[in-house]
Structures are given as structure tokens and as C-alpha cells.
Assembly symmetry: C2
């Protein structure tokens, strides 16, 4: 009988545990031993759900856990929590593992999966490590913030929270803290919140946030976190002003967690993410795989590699890696840059390229922006939405779509996401056979209205 091969997974979350689960579906324990090493105390949870747990939409931390460690172990996946990998030796096919003190033991592998995720940006500012400054990246972060909220919840005065960063996490946390009864200020260095949108669309988000009572201060950089006599956070200082704070939440985005990979000489892209082939194998390595927030992915619209930290991609990467290690065949074809989010009842979505991204990719383009409604104008609940579309000059190829609106706006971006995958032109999109009935859409779906206008813009520009 042949000895079982060993698959070692670094990182017990979306990409890592999907890879482990999928490989286990294809290979019995006698064929493949699977060891998953997780530095923290939780595995297989929805990090994207943390803001909703904080906000109270999700009652218990346990609801965010897709599969418990026991469930993994029952399926013969040797998941080890609080176990850190301190060194990779890809030439020697081994990793150094520390589960307590000391420098740790070497563990050999036949297949290595690097799924180390991303780490939140934490600027090097005075006071940044003071009690009362919270990240929201991990379950432990979430629990700590929730405990802080519950403590302050008994205070008789309304507490103040400052959120640093107005990206997805920032606006989601603003909503969560409003729901927890805080007065909330969001600070961002950019001119408009949501730099995943063009500024003209981001402005709509800022205006809506202000109407929701979220103080939104943009175009200003945080310079320090001020602490009181008790050492706890008291305010956040910017270049121009100081904002009182009982609580500070950092939502400044993330970077790939690839220190170990870098030290081991594995190939990294411009953003610091691991570079893989489409089978999710680390470039130049036969038996090292990587997926999730620690890799760069191919952007099918620009042809460039990008870092996009999203649970849905991580899960798909894991699926592909597990299939390939399990002896099957799968590839991850790349992304088109779709993201959807909300702040209270405002839905925010994008796919493809922003104007700035299209320019950096060397593309010439036209834009079209339209206003429409989520349902037939005469139907109750018809809510306004704005759709912006980018199309390539001359060819008319769809390059990107951004949507800001109310209920029913966000997921409309999926139509554009599929059209991008299929390299459709905006003129082709004009006649897409989308679902129509008065409770669901105007006669011309807002995405089609935008496509019509973009088509006209392409034609007007066509002679130049």
C-alpha cells in the first residue's frame, strides 16, 4: 500500500478550508492526509459578516461560523488552531510550525496551500495602539469591539465613535455603530468616500451618509489618536481638526499577508500578493498553491494582476486548489472586479474598471451616467438609482459599471459583471433580454438605459 500524501494548509479560513474540504471530497484519508494550521482561535468563519454581528443584525458569533473545528476533524481534516507557521522551505517541501513557545518543528508536505489572508492597514500614528482603537478583521477583533460597545452601552450619554477610512469596511462599520446608538464620524483622506467608485459616484454616497446622520469628513488625513489621562482614546486628530471619540474603528483596507512567502523567495506582484497561474499554483512551483486574500488575481478587463480581498473569490480559489490537489482539473479564470455593499438603505455596487483604472491600463473610453428607478415609475417602492457606465473608445466594449441607489439597485451590477466576462459591447447590452415586470423594473432596465446612452457616446466619439 502506498503511503498517504500530505497536504498542509496555512490559514484556516475561506480559501484554506475550502481547499481542504474539496480535496477531502476527492481523496480518502488513506490517500491524502490534510493538516490545516491556523494562527488564531477561529476557523471557517465569514469575516464579511463581522460588521453585521457588531451592528446586531447577526445575533451570535457562532452564526458566522460555516463549519466548526469539530466538523472539520470529523471529516479527517487535522485542523490545528493557535498554530503558527514561522517559516516556509519550498525547496525542502516543509514548513516550520510553532504551536506554543520555541522556534517550532518542521512539518513536511507533498502539497502546500498558502492561504494566509490579508492584514489590515494600521498607520504608524501616535496613539494608534491605545485602548479603544479597534480593527475589525478577525473574530477576535470583533469580540473585543463588541465587548467595548457593551461596556459603553450602559453610559447615560450618547457615545461618539470615529471610523477611520470610508471604504467598504468603514461604511459598514458606520452603519453598525449607528445601529448601536453611537454618534458616528467617518474620516477619509480621499475627496469622496468609497474610492472603489469614481468620485462623482462617491459623492452620492457622502451625501446619503450625511442625510443618515453620519458625519462624513473627506479630504483630510488622520495625524494622531489622542488619549486621555487614563491612557484610553479620547479623540482623533486630523490636519485640520479634532474629533472626540470614545471608540475608534480602523477601516483602512488590507494588504496581502505574504511576509513568509516573501522570505521564502516566492513570487509577489506589485501589491505584494502571491502570483499564481490560473490553476492557483504559485508561479514556478509545482506543489505550492495559494488562494484568497494573499494572492493577486487576473483582472479580465484590464489584463492586469490585482489584489482584491473578497470572501467569494477566496472560496472559489479554495475550490480550485482542492480540486487540483485532489487529482481533478479546475481553473480560476480571473475576476472582473465586482463588489457590492450597503450603508443603511443605500446600496453601492461596481464592476470592471473605474475611470482611473481604465486610464492606468492605457485604455481610452467614454462614460455615460443615467438616473432611473428600481421598479416601474408608477409602482410603489420605485426607488431612484444612478448608473454610470464606461465603454472603450471605438470598440464599444463594456469596461465598467457603478451603481448607487436604494433597494434593488446593488445586485443589478451582476448583469454588467456577466457582460464583462463575455466581452460584450455596450450596444450588444442594449438589447439584453432582462426580466421585466412593473414590480421588478422599468420597461427598460436601468442597466440597459445606461447601455443605450453609452452606445450613443461611443458613436459620437467614433470618428476621432
Amino acid at each position: 500500500m502506498a503511503t498517504a500524501q500530505r497536504m498542509v494548509v496555512i490559514g484556516g479560513n475561506a480559501a484554506g478550508m475550502s481547499a481542504a474540504s474539496q480535496a477531502r471530497r476527492l481523496k480518502r484519508p488513506g490517500e491524502l492526509e490534510i493538516v490545516a494550521l491556523e494562527r488564531g482561535g477561529y476557523a471557517s468563519y465569514s469575516a464579511c459578516g463581522i460588521p453585521y454581528w457588531i451592528g446586531g443584525d447577526v445575533a451570535a458569533a457562532g452564526d458566522l461560523i460555516a463549519r466548526t473545528p469539530e466538523q472539520h476533524r470529523e471529516r479527517d481534516i487535522d485542523l490545528r488552531l493557535h498554530t503558527e507557521v514561522t517559516e516556509l522551505d519550498p525547496d525542502g517541501c516543509r514548513v516550520r510550525v510553532r504551536d506554543g513557545g520555541g522556534t517550532g518543528q518542521w512539518l513536511g508536505y507533498d502539497h502546500l496551500v498558502i492561504a494566509t489572508g490579508a492584514r489590515p492597514l494600521r498607520p504608524d500614528l501616535p496613539g494608534i495602539d491605545a485602548p479603544g482603537v479597534h480593527g475589525v478583521q478577525t473574530m477576535d477583533d470583533g469580540r473585543s469591539l463588541l465587548e467595548a460597545l457593551e461596556r459603553t452601552g450602559t453610559a447615560s450619554t450618547r457615545r461618539r465613535a470615529v471610523v477611520v477610512g470610508a471604504g467598504y469596511i468603514g461604511v459598514e462599520m458606520a452603519e453598525a455603530l449607528i445601529r448601536r446608538g453611537h454618534r458616528v464620524t467617518v474620516l477619509d483622506r480621499a475627496q469622496e468616500p468609497m474610492t472603489t467608485l469614481d468620485p462623482d459616484m462617491g459623492r452620492l454616497v457622502r451625501e446619503a451618509m450625511c442625510r443618515m446622520g453620519i458625519e462624513t469628513v473627506t479630504g483630510t488625513a488622520v495625524t494622531a489618536v489622542r488619549t486621555g489621562a487614563d491612557g484610553r482614546v479620547r479623540a482623533v486628530a486630523t490636519e485640520d481638526a479634532e474629533y472626540e471619540a470614545d471608540l475608534v474603528v480602523l477601516g483602512l483596507g488590507v494588504r496581502p499577508e505574504t511576509g513568509l512567502a516573501r522570505d521564502a523567495g516566492l513570487p509577489l506582484g506589485e501589491s505584494g500578493g502571491l502570483l499564481t497561474d490560473l490553476a492557483m499554483r504559485v508561479r514556478g512551483r509545482e506543489n505550492v498553491w495559494a488562494g484568497g486574500d494573499c494572492v493577486e488575481v487576473l483582472d479580465l478587463v484590464s489584463g492586469l494582476d490585482r489584489h482584491i480581498a473578497l470572501g467569494t473569490h477566496a472560496n472559489k480559489h479554495g475550490q480550485v486548489i482542492g480540486t487540483n490537489i485532489g487529482g481533478g482539473y479546475a481553473t480560476f479564470p480571473g475576476v472582473v472586479g465586482t463588489a457590492v455593499s450597503k450603508v443603511c438603505d443605500l446600496e453601492i455596487a461596481r464592476t470592471g474598471l473605474l475611470e482611473s483604472q481604465a486610464r492606468s491600463a492605457g485604455l481610452r473610453f467614454v462614460t455615460a451616467t443615467i438616473e432611473s428607478t428600481s421598479r416601474a415609475g408608477y409602482y410603489p417602492g420605485a426607488a431612484p438609482m444612478r448608473v454610470k457606465m464606461l465603454a472603450e473608445h471605438r470598440t464599444g466594449r463594456l469596461l465598467g459599471v457603478q451603481i448607487v441607489g436604494r433597494e434593488g439597485a446593488g445586485k443589478r451590477v451582476d448583469v454588467a459583471a456577466v457582460a464583462l466576462s463575455a466581452s460584450m459591447t455596450v450596444e450588444q447590452m442594449t438589447f439584453l433580454d432582462l426580466g421585466y415586470a412593473p414590480p421588478f423594473s422599468p420597461l427598460w432596465d436601468p442597466v440597459l438605459v445606461a447601455a443605450r446612452k453609452a452606445t450613443a457616446a461611443v458613436r459620437r466619439a467614433g470618428t476621432h
Copy 2:
């Protein structure tokens, strides 16, 4: 100065008036005279909105009117209401027009647009013309039904309504009548309601309708409408039973209104709809155009011509016809058979082919059906939905999708509609970059889960 050409439009609704408006955008009155002839008393209204007007979601008939006759006339479109065309003479380039008594006058044209719409099926049954039996095809139908409801609304006992036909119109009218406080029975000859779905999906609709308190009796044919001593409707009889009714609504579907076209020898398809080329020109005729509910359209999935009466297609046809008559260039590429509807909070959607349609088109296929939710399972309001997918044997090409669920289910069909237009395989769909965040979708969107399962089914069947 050259004399203006004349464009004559028969039918003052979606297709006809879009064609007129678009042609007017491109040609001045001195270049093109536009005459639109409408048999009824209303033009440019949303027929699809009538059930919601009846149900009270839409307050006034006027809300359904996209553009008033005065607005058309201000744009130099000579819209004539209560004006019927009684004969076409395509060889002589003229139509016979009657606006009062008599046989009418001939009106010559340079371009003719046939947009005569569809007529509702009205089976030849005893009592079918009795007072209290209503259609819901036109504004006049709607007004008459609404007046009947308002009269019965003062009755102290809860009134009974029977809806004959459980298709889109039937279920929408069931909802409307429930909202008007009626006890509602829906009768249909088929085994399940919504024959635009496969029976296994239609069953979900029946079960949901029963839970909503709508008595839904299927597999039974209506044999007569029974009248009382006052001559008014009293009950609807089927082969098996009799259902008391103060009011009967017919929702049996429609057929193309092409009697004039047939008499004039214009080419009709199997369903009786006019056959056109992709520019919406009637086949074999240089200057006769047709669009909307009176034509057949190319089904891009099966390659066959089909009759699909939908306002959104009619509007696009009109846009294409008006562009072409106006000297531009446009084509209507065909449809993929998308439709979405709802009955109370149940959303029902489909695109592509049903099992029976795929079989008649000579296609071999596999199916996959999955259960998922509209949002992340842990997020409030996550509602169950069922997605059924058909994929072609061997090639794995997507053939169709059906969705039944609650809020957020219906418009997900659009992803499949775009994928059908792009001839994607279900395996390609598996990795589509759809918008993900817990309030919007599970980690794998339900459509992707169905695509994964369909991919596995294609592979299993692949060796045969």
C-alpha cells in the same frame, strides 16, 4: 423641396408609439409625416401595469400612461384614437381607415408599421359573454373591472372571484383580487400553475398560492360560465365541480392580432405572429415593418421563432423600427425568453428553455435544482429560493434557468439571461464574478450554486 414621406403606424401602444417617437427623433416633420392609428381610446400605456392598478398599488389609470396623446401631437405625431384600420394593401402601399361608420378611406404610406398587438384568448363557452366576466388586456377592460369591484366593494359579505388561467396575468390578478378583499379561486387546465415553468417548479407556485389563501385548482378544464336569474355570472363550472363567482377574470393568455396581416398575405409563423427580419421588416416586404405582441421573435437558445407578448420587447422593437425608418441602422437580435412575475411575496422567474421546449427543439440536456437563500444564511431576511438549471448534454451550454423564491429571487434570472446571450457553458458560469456581501448574497450566489451542480451533471452524463 422634396415632399415629406409618410409613416403610418397601426396600433398606438408600446411598439407603435416607440417606433413613432424614435423616427420623430431622427426626422423632422418636413421630412417625415407620422400618422398613428389606434382603435381604442388610449395610447402609450403600460398594459403590464393593469393588474397593479386593479389591485390598488397604482392609484390612477393616468399613472400607467407614459405619454398622453397631447404630448405625442406636440411632437408632430398625428395620433388618431378610435380609428380602426380595416384593410391592408401592401402592394398599393395603403391602408383602409375607419374613424366612424362606413368602410373607410384609403391612406397611403411610404412606411407602414404594424403594431396591432395581441388579443386575449376567450374560449367559446356557454355564458362567457355574461356580465361579470372580465378580460384585463386593455385600459378599457381595466376600468370596467375596477368599476365592478367598486360596486361589489360595498357588499357586506366577502365576494368571490374566479380567475380562469394561472399564467402571469392569472396569478397577478389573483393577487390584485385578494388585495381587494375577495376570496379568490384560480382554475387552470394544466397540472400546475405557471406553465411558463416546468411542472416541478410550478408546483412550488401552487403550494405558495394555497398558503396565501388563493384556492388553486389545476388539471381541470372550465366547461361553462353559469349565470343567475339576473343574467349575471353566478359560478364557473369545470368538468368536476362548480365554483361560485360574483366576478370572473379571464387570464388565458394571448394570440397575435394578425387578422389584417393574414388577409393581406403577409407571412405568419406557426403561432400566427408576423415574421420579420432582424431589422423588424416584414419578410419579403421593403417598407412594411412589424413589432410588439403581433410578431414572432427569434429565440436565440433554440433557434426557433416564438411568440412572446412582453412590453419590454415591444418597446425595443419600436426603437429598432423607428431607427431604421429614420435612416439609421438597428437590429433586434432576438430573445432568450426571460420573464419575471410575482404573486404576493412569491417571485417567479425564468429564462431560456423549459424541459419541454428543449425537447421540441431537439436538444438533449441535463437538469440541476438547488435550494439556496437570497442573502447570507445568517443575515436577517435571508429568504429561501429554488433554482433549476438546464444545460446541454456534452457541450454544457446553458439552456435555461427557472427561479421561485421570495424577495431578491426574481431578478437573479438576469445573470442567466446574459449568460444565455453570450452562449456560456454552465462551467464558465460557475466562476462568474457576481456581487457578494452578506446582505446581498450567500458566499456562492444561488445561480452559481446551480451552475456548479449542473456542471457536475454534465460531466456525469458526458460519457454517454
